[in-house]
Amino acid sequence: MRIAAKGLIDRTKPVSFTFDGKSYCGFHGDTLASALMANGVRLVGRSFKYHRPRGILTAGPEEPNAMVEVLDGASQSPNTRATVQEIYDGLAAQSQNRWPSLRYDLLSVNDLAAPFLSAGFYYKTFMWPRAFWEGLYEPLIRRAAGLGRLKPQNETASYEKAFAFCDLLVIGSGPAGLMAALTAARAGAHVILAEQDSVMGGHLLSDGGTLGMPWVDATLAELRALPNVRLMARTTVVGAYDQGTYAALERVGRHLPSAPHLPRECFWRIVAGQAILSTGALERPIAFENNDRPGIMLASAALTYLNRFGVVPGQKITLFANNDHARQAVRQLMAAGVQVAAILDSRADASTVDDCPVYLSAAVTDTQGRHGLTQISGTHAGGAFQIDTDCLLMSGGWNPLVNIACHQNARPTWREDIAAFVPHSGMVPGLTAAGSANGAFSTHAALREGADAAIAALTELGRSATAPDLPQAEDAPYRLQPLWAVPGKGRAWLDFANDVTVKDVKLAAQEGYTSVEHMKRYTTQGMAPDQGKNSNVAALAVLADATGRGIAETGTTTFRAPFTPVSIGALGAGGQGAGFAPQRYMTSDQASRDRGAPMVEAGLWYRPSYFPKPGETTWRQSCDREVLMVRSSVGVADVSTLGKIDIQGPDAARFLDFVYTNTFSTLPVGRVRYGLMLREDGFVLDDGTTARLGDTHYLMTTTTAAAGQVMRHLDFVHQAYCSDWQVRFISVTESWAQFAVAGPMAKMLLNALLDERIDDFPFMTYGEVSVEGVKARLFRISFSGEEGYEIAVPTAYGEALFRDLLAKAETLGGGAYGMEALNVMRIEKGFITHAEIHGRITAFDIGMAKMVASKKDCIGKAASQRPGLIGSEREQLVGLRPVTKTDIGAGAHLFNPGDKVERVNDQGYVTSVCWSPVLETYLGLAFLKDGRARHGQRVRLVDHMRKTDVLCEVTDPVFLDPEGAKLRA
């Protein structure tokens, strides 16, 4: 029901929305909760376990009951708190955790079975038979449990991530926060004021007190006008991390119809010199039998609905409280013309002076009304009572919102006088609590603490500030007498969101779960989306009582980030689809795509897999043709992705001798040498060729996949072991586009393009050449086994050179070849890649033990000679050739013929396979125990994945041209 002339909503802007398919009207500025309340909707959700009908309990982000699914095009946001979600035209929300409808929910039979469903029910009931757990119990329980649902489709909405920096971060914009921000801002500090609500002002917006909107508006206007202040509304600080870093979630587009590129949420990382925790306090419920019916809510929530949204939660209201403060709610409701049935004060010595009946020593012991409260009953000083009421406000006092102060594992301090936990200094370095977050509940105290905290924070930052004049504000003492749970036999809810009752907590204690952390896990108290914001203190108070300890001694559970739920979409903003990693494109990319080449990812690079010709329908046809083409005429492949590291300095040779197993100081200028690099633990890190460009100048190449790793390794070796050496190196991978030109006609092709013909350019030679007027580097190296060259030009010329090479190659009957053909040719030649040197392989394993030079030391040398890394027990690189023409696959395992196929008899495994169109057979490279001694023998290749079982002959890994005659041609 709306109250005229109340609230901060804009009554000139009606907004229509739907809930469970039915259309409703609200106003701009309404939350879904206030708009539903204005429309008389009381039942908004079902509880987690018992599927109890539930209404709105709070008016803020702590809401445990009123959680809905918001539908937005293809996606659905579950567990959206109706008390936070602002309405907009076209908003579609639906209730969750019910079937078939909110009013008639079949799983509410759980409520009837409640005597059996107490804490620990699952642990006790589904113990046996053991085998039933995975197949039957768990799927059933999972189906019945849970709150909101996600759509099974991928998330398509946009999210954002951002960074921000400030001198002072103020968390929360109530009186303490506003005063802190104002104090710091006037002193010139960079201030970020973050407020989870859509409007700044905190409880000043809703308490109807003397310090109302004029002061809030004036303060905000001043802050807004200052260039050193950033006001961030709808931004919840969700975590405190190291070195003044805070995580915050901003609801950017959640309150608006979706629009292109408008992020739903932004995940902020805010780095602050100092921070002030002015998050306020949360009112706590009281546990009594059936205290969870729609229509029972917190007194402060009713005050918020009245003053902020101009709506009241009932026609005839009752208050049940243990403190003076809560009476403000009914006084203001009465002033607004709402009937108040009674004030039920649990204290014996409280005032009885109010404009409605006041009963002392009161306790509510039961309530009625399945889908909405109709009646309450209990006792008070005068005896038993029964009151007809459609709205019961409750207040068990206040809990300062200490969560963020506890995120680095410090525990808050119990304060007996206010029966609440408060933060203390140093819990999070640089974070100070002020106002009701610090247990200072009056507005005047909050203003004062806010100003003081800001001055102290600025002093820490080496700045000075003076406190603004504090405005007049109430400074009423906060008087309460703790009341956590009304004694009784029935179910009295502590944790509404997870359906945990007083009985459950007592049962936990009785069964030995007396530690608060054990009680939490046994009962699931505090483990729902609200993370126990409404129930933690009361639950541990009940536990303390049940175990005969004090509350301070019982302690709290651990407060963890995030303070409120954060969408995975926000955390992963920018990472959807291809945003997962950068995409690296070669200069030849477009030319390859123009030829229809499917691209494969190699590291972050995209490389052509093969180049289909008309009529070719499978990759194998293209691949076979490309192999035969290279072996008979000439092929061109872009190999720019290989890592290239330019190494210079008088100690460059010494450095290479140190990082490579073999010797590079003896390499003549203008020559190229193959090198093998070990990790410090003696296993193979990478291989590649290095050319000596000049006396003190080398160019190292690495594999594509390990380019970054090798660069990091070189940096480490240099910085850790020889930083004083006269050597400097830098990656030039991106500076040069490099193309392999291979085949019997390779030289003919190059000579058609080079400005000066090459004639005598022997294998493993390097030289500077000029191609079409561009200075280029030419290497005579081969990864295909053919006469091969690699020509490198500055990257800008890469595409042009590639296209020119292809045009001329095609004239010769050659053309481009892709990764598939490249792979086949290297297997035919027994050349290794990271399929072989996969991290568990030594130089000995690949038959390169002799490449570990005996006359010098190198990184990994000593470790590589440890027992167990050399010898016949090692699996060694061999070739495999199926005895019959059968398909084989990498990943298959090897067994001795006759042995049983089981793990203990495993003899090795296959790393690479291909169909060799030259040899017309499948070929494999494999690691086989004592393999080099077993050439000519047969092994059984078993592939459990592809269901193949093939007899193979063990051979030398070099299948083609073992003498290298073609290579050196």
């Binding site: 946009s158 954002e160 991530k161 951002a162 960074f163 921000a164 920096f165 950017v252 587009g253 608006l256 629009a259 292109p260 590129h261 408008l262 992020p263 990382r269 780095v271 920018g574 945003g579 990693a581 950068p582 995409q583 690296r584 494109y585 070669m586 200069t587 972050l604 690079w605 330019d646 210079q648 300095g649 008088p650 930083s723 004083d724 050496w725 006269q726 400097r728 190196f729 830098i730 990656s731 030039v732 991978t733 991106e734 500076s735 040069w736 586009a737 191609v771 079409e772 007027g773 561009v774 030009v793 500055p794 990257t795 800008a796 010329y797 595409e799 042009a800 050179l801 020119d804």
Partner: protein, 173 residues
């Protein structure tokens, strides 16, 4: 004269302007890495006519690491003093200028890029999203050097940030 056609990383891509902020490929010409050998920094500094302080730009010298600079344009003879390596083709240059430049980049860089904290002639080797880059503050925006092969991704990331900021501004009206 070369007969090969040279193409920049984002050849022929038109500049993008959103909310008065422009993203465009820039041509910075010759880039040379100069890394002084141990003990040779003073002589190299003399030859270069100065040496920028860490995270700063001095004329055409961009600090890129301890005792290391990138030189834009001509490099003097530094034989024996420093490793000199041509880096020209390896980097794509993007220029982002206009009122939203800092806000857009503060979605991608974990740095305080407000003019008060990252003024003109400040530079940093810092990650743009997942990509390593060299970021340089200019008079009215930023120059970003990024691995050439990643230029398209970098463009896309910055474009996405600008689009989100533009959509935010529209939603706030």
């Amino acid at each position: 004269m070369p007969n090969l056609i040279a193409k920049s990383a984002l050849f022929a891509r038109a500049p993008l302007t959103l909310s008065g902020t422009t993203l465009a490929e820039a041509q910075v010409g010759q880039i040379t890495s100069v890394a002084a050998f141990p003990g040779k920094l003073p002589e190299a500094t003399t030859a270069l006519g100065g040496f920028p302080a860490p995270n700063s730009v001095l004329g055409n010298l961009i600090w890129t690491g301890p005792e290391q600079v990138f030189v834009l344009g001509q490099t003097p003879d530094l034989t024996g003093l420093a490793a000199v390596t041509d880096q020209s083709g390896g980097w794509a240059a993007l220029r982002l200028s206009g009122p939203m430049a800092a806000d857009a980049l503060m979605r991608l860089y974990p740095l305080d890029l407000r003019a008060s904290h990252f003024p003109k002639d400040t530079c940093a080797r810092a990650p743009l999203g997942h990509m390593q880059s060299i970021l340089i503050a200019e008079e009215s925006g930023f120059l970003i050097l990024i691995f050439r092969s990643m230029a398209r991704t970098a463009w896309h990331e910055i474009e996405t940030a600008l689009q989100a900021l533009t959509a935010r501004a529209a939603a706030a009206l």
